[in-house]
């Protein structure tokens, strides 16, 4: 099965405010997907819709080729889910919540859970309500990993983790999972952490996916061009796929995607004093896609 998760024409509104509009993408095993978007762009809503926490207004979600309903549950056995905020029952202990959680997952690995509890420095006897947010996130990660997921969904968890854990989690754990065939869907707005591990990028803006490409391709085809003019830069430039622009005096910075020889030729034809082209970082790409023009 080359396709693990497929989302088609997914829409969701809160009242009159449309949060997701005709979202569509696929997730394949063994890859790390970065789901990027500014705060409030609908990343959490998309993930909660996939997880059946909230109902969708329209669209189809399929897991391993089978459509899943809002009431459906079986597909969740193959999904590990780490949400943005801690969500466990506060009265249970760390060991208790893991034992409770394990009963829902047929592939639950209690030894791995115990080992990860130790690895993350959690006290098995501690009540969940006494844990810090970071500790609860670690517990969520332990619970998600011990379920033996085919798809791990991470809803921006790293901001709550301390630096060593974050590094450990991003560099070792996710890489290890992906190599083992697990797909990872990692929603975040902290893009520099994603850069090292991501295989594929989704960028959400205005409720739509505005970028759905392999990261290697994006790296090659995303360029920054700084163009110096003899006077104010022109208002309108007909040079193709500008995803972002910034005026700096007589200079104009353009973020371009996808870069091509035709775009290069267009830049040369501008009669600028000079121009420089360089590759973009992931942060620049993200900024270009999600930031309003200035």
């Amino acid at each position: 099965m080359s396709e693990l998760l497929r989302v088609e024409r997914l829409s969701k509104a809160f009242g009159r405010r449309a949060v997701l509009r005709d979202i569509g993408f696929t997730v394949e095993p063994g890859k790390v997907y970065g789901l990027m978007g500014r705060n409030g762009e609908g990343k959490t809503t998309l993930i909660r819709t996939i997880m059946g926490v909230i109902p969708r207004d329209a669209g189809v979600i399929s897991f391993k080729g089978r459509p899943v309903t809002f009431a459906g549950a079986d597909y969740k056995r193959a999904i590990g889910y780490v949400p943005e905020n801690p969500f466990f029952y506060g009265g249970m202990s760390v060991a208790g919540i893991l034992a409770f959680n394990g009963r829902f997952f047929p592939k639950w690995d209690a030894k791995k859970a115990a080992s990860d509890v130790e690895r993350f420095g959690l006290d098995p006897s501690a009540k969940v309500r006494t844990l810090s947010r970071g500790q609860q996130l670690k517990l969520a990660v332990v619970a998600a990993l011990a379920a033996g997921p085919e798809l791990l969904i991470l809803d921006d968890p790293t901001s709550g983790l301390d630096v060593p854990t974050r590094r450990d989690f991003l560099r070792d754990i996710i890489g290890e999972l992906a190599r083992g065939g697990t797909a990872v869907l990692f929603a975040t707005h902290l893009v520099h952490e994603l850069e090292r591990i991501v295989d594929h990028l989704f960028i959400l803006r205005g409720g739509r996916i505005v970028l759905d490409e392999p990261y290697d391709k994006v790296k090659i085809l995303a360029r920054r061009a700084v163009i110096s003019f003899d006077g104010p830069p022109p208002e309108d430039l007909d040079i193709g796929p500008i995803i972002g622009r910034r005026r700096m005096g007589q200079d104009l910075e353009l973020l371009l995607y996808p870069w091509s020889e035709e775009v290069n030729a267009s830049l040369r034809g501008l009669n600028a004093l000079r121009f420089e082209v360089e590759p973009l970082s992931l942060e620049d790409i993200f900024t270009g896609f999600v930031q309003d023009e200035r």
């Binding site: 909660r48 059946g52 926490v53 909230i54 969740k76 969500f87 466990f88 029952y89």
Partner: protein
């Protein structure tokens, strides 16, 4: 999954269980210590019942989703690989099981705490709320109701205390409204149908269905609504609650009409010439000569399925009216032109039961019925009289009091109307006075035969007998077969009584088959032929087989046939009827499971076995050229084709 969730829910509710046990222990201790005080003895359990179970029900329901609100664990719970309905069911079962456990524990206390059961079983609601209604079952039902309300509301808010108080308030209001609703439904039902309306049944059913309505609304909201949007969630719950509550209350109100009534049972068949009307427990049916089947003409709940046929009309008594009396109706035998002749809502007369009533004249123009005088201070007098009324609904006439010797001051009479007399219109009555204060089994003599002229009100004693009397008038109403005795040991006289003049024509005198054999066992099953000339009966004499006999008024001759070897039947269920063209007698023999057909000379022409499935008591009814057989045990009616001797089941 379910077990895992259920155990978690039970653990969550452990503090509430401990609280409930503590309150129950306090109540028990208070009852045992203070129970000697008569006031406190009732007050303590009553207060406990009224407050504890509704409150504990509301608290259990209110806490259903408390941990998800408290710990923000909605996302955790809903993202687990477990179906949403399983989560909901586990929460409901946990709450219900603890509530049921508290019931059982209290019932256990009733068994072991001295005097507690006696006090609790004696606790009743005030009369205005339903006289004599036991408090305990209602409280248990209410606790279920409060639980369901609180359970459904608990998905809306993270404030369980608000849910508890809100549920108690809403529950008490709804119970009050439901009670008024059931009361009004009862009033409406009494105006539109006969029979007792089960108001408390409607109320209790309403409580159960309302509980289910709240739970169904909760489930649908849980399964369908977006829990991240509280306004949508609240709106969805409100919509489902209103919809299901309306359905629950409509079903409760309709339940008395929808519930299956008692099984329809066939009664007697009233035959006059070619007309036959079957009474059952659910209505009246007319026998259609052409199709050979019964067709329903009147649909009614008959507490007293009494009908009379005459002149193409059927007279019948419907069940209770608003004042608990009966209604007298008339209709054509094809079911058309149904008309209410009299009900207790009219005047000071309440239609009542009297053996042999109501009666309809052979021309179908006059009806006679029994009634009781009613007044505001005394709704029922229990003194029955007779009245006549035209079948078009006019001309009500209270008949003159019966002969003082029969129903005079200080005396009662056992009077049975035996038939309608020919010209002039009148009633044939068979009566005997009862001594004041005498019991029903007291020997009552003499037996008198009276003629009551409806036009003049004259009451004429036609015959007086010191012993028992059997009286069967002919269809024309001018002659009757009179079987009488002077005492209970001597011979039995068979004669004809002229119903106009009262003169008797002796036919025969027979000895009893055994010492002390009652008159009605010695000569039984008298039946007049359709032309009113011949009367047949079955004579039992000592040492003889039962002998069929026919007396012809035209020939002035008694013909006795050969004896028939009938298996004696102690329940007198053999019978005799004129069949075919009226020249043949059919003797039914229940034990032999056969019908013996006798020719004009009373010789046995043939024996027709009854259908194989008829193995109990049965009766035959000649209707026109057909013979019908009613099988009470199997609730079946068969029609005999006299040409082929084949039976066809028609009921």
């Amino acid at each position: 999954m379910f077990k895992t969730l259920l155990i978690k829910e039970w653990k969550d509710k452990a503090p509430l269980v401990a609280f409930g046990l503590g309150i129950m222990a306090l109540m028990l201790a208070a009852f045992l210590v203070l129970g000697d005080d008569q006031d406190l003895r009732e007050l303590i359990p009553a207060t406990f019942l009224i407050f504890f179970f509704p409150v504990i029900g509301a608290m259990l329901g209110a806490g259903a989703f408390e941990s998800e609100f408290r710990d923000g664990a909605w996302t955790y719970l809903l993202s687990r690989p477990v179906r949403k309905e399983t989560i909901w069911l586990a929460k409901l079962v946990a709450s219900l099981s603890i509530l049921a456990g508290s019931w059982l524990l209290f019932i256990g206390l009733l068994a072991v705490a001295p005097g507690l059961e006696e006090v609790v079983s004696g606790l009743k609601l005030p009369d205005m709320l339903g006289s004599g209604l036991a408090l305990f079952p209602l409280i248990l039902l209410s606790s279920l109701f409060f639980l369901s309300i609180a359970f459904s509301l608990s998905i809306l808010t993270d404030k369980p205390l608000s849910v508890v108080f809100g549920s108690l308030f809403l529950g008490f209001v709804l119970e009050g409204v439901l009670f008024v609703f059931a009361f009004l439904a009862q009033g409406r039902a009494m105006l539109t149908q006969s029979g007792r309306f089960p108001m408390l049944g409607v109320f209790n059913l309403g409580l159960v269905l309302s509980s289910l309505a709240f739970l169904a609304a909760s489930l649908l909201t849980w399964l369908k609504a977006d829990f991240s949007q509280s306004r949508i969630k609240t709106g969805a719950l409100a919509r489902w609650c209103l919809l299901f509550l309306a359905a629950a209350w409509a079903l409760s109100a309709a339940w008395p009409a929808l519930r299956p009534g008692p099984k329809e049972e066939i009664g007697s068949i009233e035959v006059v010439g070619n007309e036959a009307v079957l009474s059952t427990s659910k209505g009246l049916y007319h026998y259609e000569l052409e199709s050979g089947r019964f067709r329903k003409i009147v649909r009614l709940r008959l507490d007293w399925g009494c009908s009379a046929v005459g002149g193409g009309k059927v007279l019948y008594v419907a069940g209770h009216d608003l004042q608990g009396g009966f209604e007298l109706w008339v209709a054509n035998t094809d079911g058309s032109d149904k008309r209410l002749l009299w009900g207790s809502g009219r005047g000071d007369m309440s239609v009542s039961f009297w053996p042999g009533t109501p009666r309809i004249s052979p021309d179908g123009k006059t009806a006679v019925f029994a009634y009781e005088e009613t007044s505001e201070t005394s709704p029922r007098s229990h003194v029955r009289s007779l009245a006549s009324i035209g079948t078009e609904g006019r001309g009500l006439k209270k008949l003159a009091p019966l002969d003082p010797g029969l129903a005079g001051e200080g005396e009662q009479s056992a009077t049975i109307i035996r038939g309608w007399l020919g010209s002039p219109d009148g009633l044939l009555m068979w009566a005997r006075p009862l001594k004041a204060g005498s019991g029903p089994r007291t020997v009552r003599t003499p037996y008198n035969v009276w003629r009551y002229d409806l036009a003049s009100g004259a009451q004429i004693k036609l015959f007086e007998s010191p012993g028992s009397v059997s009286l069967v008038p002919n269809p024309a109403g001018n002659m009757a077969l009179l079987i009488s005795e002077k005492d209970q040991a001597g011979p039995i006289d068979i004669s004809l009584l002229d119903l106009k003049t009262g003169t008797t024509t002796p036919i025969s005198t027979i000895e009893r088959p055994g010492k002390g054999t009652p008159l009605w066992s010695a000569i039984e099953h008298s039946a007049w032929s359709g032309d009113g000339d011949r009367v047949g009966f079955l004579i039992h004499r000592e040492g003889h087989l039962p002998t069929p006999a026919v007396y012809s008024g035209k020939d002035r001759r008694l013909v006795m046939g050969p004896g028939i070897r009938l298996q004696e039947s102690p329940d007198l269920s053999n019978g005799l009827a004129w069949i075919g063209d009226g020249t043949k007698l059919a003797v039914t023999a229940v034990r032999d499971r056969s019908i013996y057909v006798l020719g004009p000379d009373l010789a046995l022409e043939k024996t027709v076995p009854v259908p194989p499935s008829v193995n109990g008591r049965f009766r035959v009814w000649p209707v026109g050229a057909a013979v019908l057989l009613t099988d009470q045990e199997n609730q079946a009616i068969w029609r005999l084709d006299l040409k082929t001797d084949k039976w066809k089941r028609i009921w």
